[in-house]
């Protein structure tokens, strides 16, 4: 992009030779069409170009960020940064800039999807709902990232994504569905609508059941929430540095049926192939047959833990967050949804979790609720929809040895408490899950 090339050329002329500098630019067009009460009520688009500048000199570091409009002159910014840096204490965990050899050229000049196509996808969804009340969104995104540093690294990448996410509500029930893809045209609005409608219809007039420990089948969105919590609080190497991670590498902590990889190169992966240091990401084993194999590292965490960098620094996040995989795939098993249900003597099917919060990061005990479709399964058959349940359950134990009875055969991009498009997962059948409250508290 011309704007980027000009900025780097100007910067090169003014950076003192004894100063290390890294500049990142995120340029994106985010569009989202939102519907409720079965019509579109909000429809938005934002074009942004944000710059993140890091300066390191005399053992001290400072970070500045601007959007391109407020940047003004790069000359002034560099002067301001070098003046501020003098006030800062030494940065003892500075881990340097990525090397020139890590440069990667992935930029593509792509145009955004148009609002008419998003509206059509919404219509395709709404049309499946009959008299039920539809709500949700259809989004599309084109993002470009650029990284340059004084080591001579120059990297870029482009990613696109589109999602259709919606619910249908009746007087007594709701049902949801969610699909993601690189392009909007490949999202099947009718399919998403039919799934959400079917769940809402079958969930009508739910019955309350007693809290307790139940066998569960978790839909992809619920599975995704468990994994994203483990990723953020456990596999994020920053939590290991802080002493709050429950994850021990090369230890059998999970069931053998659990294998998780981060693979930005897999066909259809939605997120960037470089990290925020500008370095290319490789396929990374995270859990293999229940054994943790790697944390998500940044430059700083890999230096502090003296482990190999996995290049999982996030664009737009500070050093205090750490690293996170954004192209995570849970290996599918061979069990269909019907077969999985037929294997349950008494249990609960949960379509989606809601408002999950960690009680203690080191035990990964989390509380949250079910929503948008839950059923009681008895003797291999769905017998009735069930109402609101609160769980208080260790997510580590939920995937622990012997607790994973089955892994579904079909993967999909799932939504999670920390966003969509990060995880591609199948359904899971778990032996025990602890529900601590019902509708009455």
């Amino acid at each position: 992009m011309k704007i980027w090339e000009n900025l780097i050329e100007d910067t090169k002329k003014i950076i003192p030779s004894d100063v290390q500098c890294e500049i990142k630019m995120i340029n994106s067009i985010d569009s989202l069409t939102r519907f409720a009460n079965s019509h579109i009520h909000q429809n938005v688009e934002e074009e942004m170009t944000d710059l993140y500048l890091t300066f390191h000199s005399d053992g001290k570091t400072t970070n500045l960020n601007f959007n391109i409009t407020s940047l003004g002159s790069i000359d002034e910014v560099v002067k301001k940064a070098l003046s501020e840096i003098e006030n800062n204490p030494k940065d003892s965990s500075w881990s340097g800039l990525a090397s020139k050899e890590n440069s990667y050229d992935g930029y593509r000049n792509l145009s955004p999807e148009n609002p008419d196509l998003r509206a059509q996808k919404v219509k395709d969804f709404i049309d499946q709902g009959g008299s039920f009340n539809g709500a949700g969104y259809c989004s599309s995104n084109v993002s470009n990232v650029f990284v340059w540093n004084t080591n001579g690294l120059s990297s870029s990448d482009t990613a696109t994504s589109a999602f259709l996410d919606g619910i249908f509500r009746s007087e007594t029930s709701s049902g949801s569905s969610h699909l993601g893809h690189k392009t909007l045209e490949n999202i099947d609005g009718e399919k998403v609508g039919q799934e959400a409608y079917s769940i809402a219809k079958e969930s009508q007039n739910p019955k309350d059941i007693d809290p307790g420990v139940y066998e569960v089948i978790l839909g992809p969105d619920a599975v995704s929430t468990i994994l994203v919590f483990l990723a953020v609080y456990g596999f994020n190497a920053k939590s290991k540095v802080d002493g709050t991670s429950p994850i021990e590498i090369d230890t059998q902590q999970f069931d053998k049926k659990i294998t998780l990889v981060d693979d930005p190169h897999k066909e259809g992966a939605l997120n960037f192939k470089i990290d925020a240091s500008g370095s290319p990401k490789a396929q990374t084993e995270i859990i293999t047959n229940g054994v943790p194999k790697s944390y998500f590292h940044t430059r700083r965490t890999s230096t502090e833990l003296k482990e190999k960098n996995t290049f999982h620094e996030m664009f737009g996040w500070g050093d205090s967050f750490g690293g996170l995989g954004t192209n995570l795939y849970l290996q599918p098993g061979g069990i269909s949804k019907d077969e999985m249900i037929s294997n349950v003597k008494k249990g609960i099917y949960i379509n989606e979790f809601w408002y999950c919060r960690v009680l203690d990061p080191i035990t990964q005990v989390v509380t949250g609720l079910n929503r948008n479709g839950s059923y009681l399964i008895e003797n291999g058959k769905i017998t009735k929809p069930v109402g609101r349940l609160r769980f208080t359950q260790s997510f580590m134990s939920s995937l622990g040895q012997g607790n994973v009875l089955g892994v579904g055969s079909e993967n999909r991009f799932a939504d999670s408490e920390f966003g969509e498009g990060i995880l591609n997962v199948p359904m899971l059948h778990l032996k025990e899950f602890n529900f601590t409250g019902g509708v009455s508290g």
Binding site: Q42, G318, Y355, R357, R371
Partner: protein, 478 residues
């Protein structure tokens, strides 16, 4: 700036929009974090851009750009119109807009010292010395953070609004985390994630972090060897900041009119409240008086006009336990037939304004924490939030706190760890039987309220004083 705004608005109206408004923002923020006596992160941020909103039939179209050239501003107005128009494929009933005064005005947050003009060395030193002291005293992880925002907003509308506001917000906090055998315990001050208000550097100075480092470290270490919070049904006494979050989750979100109307159904959820029960529904005990007041000096959600140009105001939400009010915007208020309350705000120039809590607080009672504890035979006093979860109707909640104190026969007898409580909103508020007075009433601030799609972070205020709730289920564990 108003000339630029009007170019965009004129373009939207000229394209066919029935109404348009636009905001230009210059937003500065500074985030400083420290860990174990070292600077962890120092980040200065600044951005500038325009967001324009156009109403066409039953939908808002919104477009935001960082490019403030004339050509771009005119294009932005057209795009906002075209985006709104695309919605006509799936139309609803036309949105009316409630009438509000058309105002030209200026407002600057009262403050003593702009935090961006205070030496960053002083700000860094405060955090580094606080976390250094806690580490020295035996904290496993001593952390601290400061956040400052200086936001200049120019708002104009096709009806003639021209409003400039400069909102200054400051906040932060410190925490001591102790790691034991397979568990962590934490104590934070002034509250978890810090305390935030409108105002300048003087807000931070008033917290006196260093006066609290010894207590926080000692308590986080002591929690590791303390007994678990007992399970069962007991009286629950909540410290002010925890009660503030209880208000936020079980009252503040439930009274948002956009949720009640179903506009947030797919993501944030709806509400257990139904408009036809307004002025009838029993929300809590007669001690419960909730107001939404955007005019409270120094509270986090204090301003003079919201992001639709509606004047800030005080609205009764619950009076003596009866639900009486909602949080509204011009569109939702007109649909529901209530007055617009000036409660619509956006997270930056790039986001569509939406209904947001202002300072939704519980008016003080006439008791005191000391009296509440002295009159409790069997209960737990819980301080400082650690976890929070509530269903999408805002009914079924479970909160965890950093520390609990066992109360027997009017006295605190022991510290307990992992305190949690759970309940159902109207039952819980109906059980409030004692409420501390004005001397202990604090304008707690929440700087991290998530809502909307695309996601927006809101800054909300929740004045509260300690209170007692009878027969609450506590000590829920996994």
């Amino acid at each position: 700036m108003f000339n630029q705004i009007n170019k965009s608005i004129d373009s939207a109206i000229g394209s066919g929009a029935q109404y348009a408004d636009a905001r230009i923002l210059i937003s500065k923020s500074r985030n400083i974090s420290s860990k174990d006596g070292e600077l962890e992160d120092f980040n200065n941020s600044e951005n500038m851009g325009l967001g324009i909103r156009a109403l066409v039939g039953s939908s808002w179209g919104f477009y935001a750009t960082y490019d403030l050239s004339d050509k771009s501003l005119i294009e932005a107005g057209k795009k906002a119109y075209l985006i709104a128009k695309a919605s006509s494929k799936v139309p609803g009933n036309d949105f009316p807009l409630a009438d509000v005064p058309i105002v030209q005005d200026k407002y600057v947050t009262p403050h003593e010292q702009n935090p961006f003009k205070v030496s960053s060395t002083d700000q860094i030193d405060l955090l580094v010395s606080s976390t250094h002291e806690m580490k020295k005293l035996g904290s496993s992880i001593a952390s601290g953070r400061l956040n400052f925002w200086d936001t200049e907003k120019w708002f104009g509308s096709s009806q003639g609004h021209e409003i400039y506001q400069n909102i200054i917000e400051s906040g932060g906090g410190i925490s001591s985390l102790s790691i034991g055998d397979g568990e962590t315990q934490i104590r934070s001050y002034p509250q978890s994630f810090g305390e935030y208000r409108t105002g300048g550097w003087e807000v931070i100075q008033s917290f006196k972090f260093l006066d609290h480092v010894e207590r926080l470290t000692e308590e986080s270490k002591r929690l590791l060897t303390s007994p678990q919070c007992p399970e069962g049904t007991r009286d629950l006494i909540l410290e002010g900041s925890q009660l503030a979050l209880q208000i936020h989750e079980s009252v503040g979100h439930a009274i948002e009119l956009d949720r009640i109307l179903g506009w947030e159904a797919a993501y944030a959820g709806t509400s257990h409240l139904q408009l036809n029960k307004l002025n009838e529904h029993k929300y809590g005990s007669t001690l419960m008086n909730i107001v939404a007041d955007a005019t409270l000096p120094g509270a986090l959600a204090t301003f003079k006009y919201d992001d639709e140009g509606t004047p800030a105001q005080r609205v009764d939400i619950v009076k003596e336990g009866i639900w009486t009010g909602v949080l509204t915007g011009r569109d939702s208020a007109a649909i529901a037939g209530v007055s617009p309350g000036g409660m619509v705000r956006a997270d930056g120039y790039g986001r569509l304004p939406m209904v947001r809590m202002t300072n939704v607080g519980l008016l003080p009672g006439e008791s005191s924490l000391e009296e509440i504890i002295a009159s409790t035979d069997d209960g737990v006093y819980m301080e400082t939030n650690r976890s929070w979860s509530i269903d999408d109707l805002r009914l079924n909640f479970q909160f965890g706190c950093e520390v609990g104190w066992l109360v027997k026969n009017g006295k605190i007898i022991d510290m307990v760890k992992n305190p949690t409580y759970t309940g159902i909103t109207p039952n819980f508020w109906g059980s409030m039987d004692m409420l501390a007075g004005k001397d202990e009433w604090v304008f707690w601030g929440t700087p991290n309220c998530g809502k909307g799609q695309p996601s927006q972070i809101g800054h909300t205020g929740h004045p509260a004083s300690p209170a007692r709730f009878k027969d609450v289920r506590i000590g829920v564990r996994g």
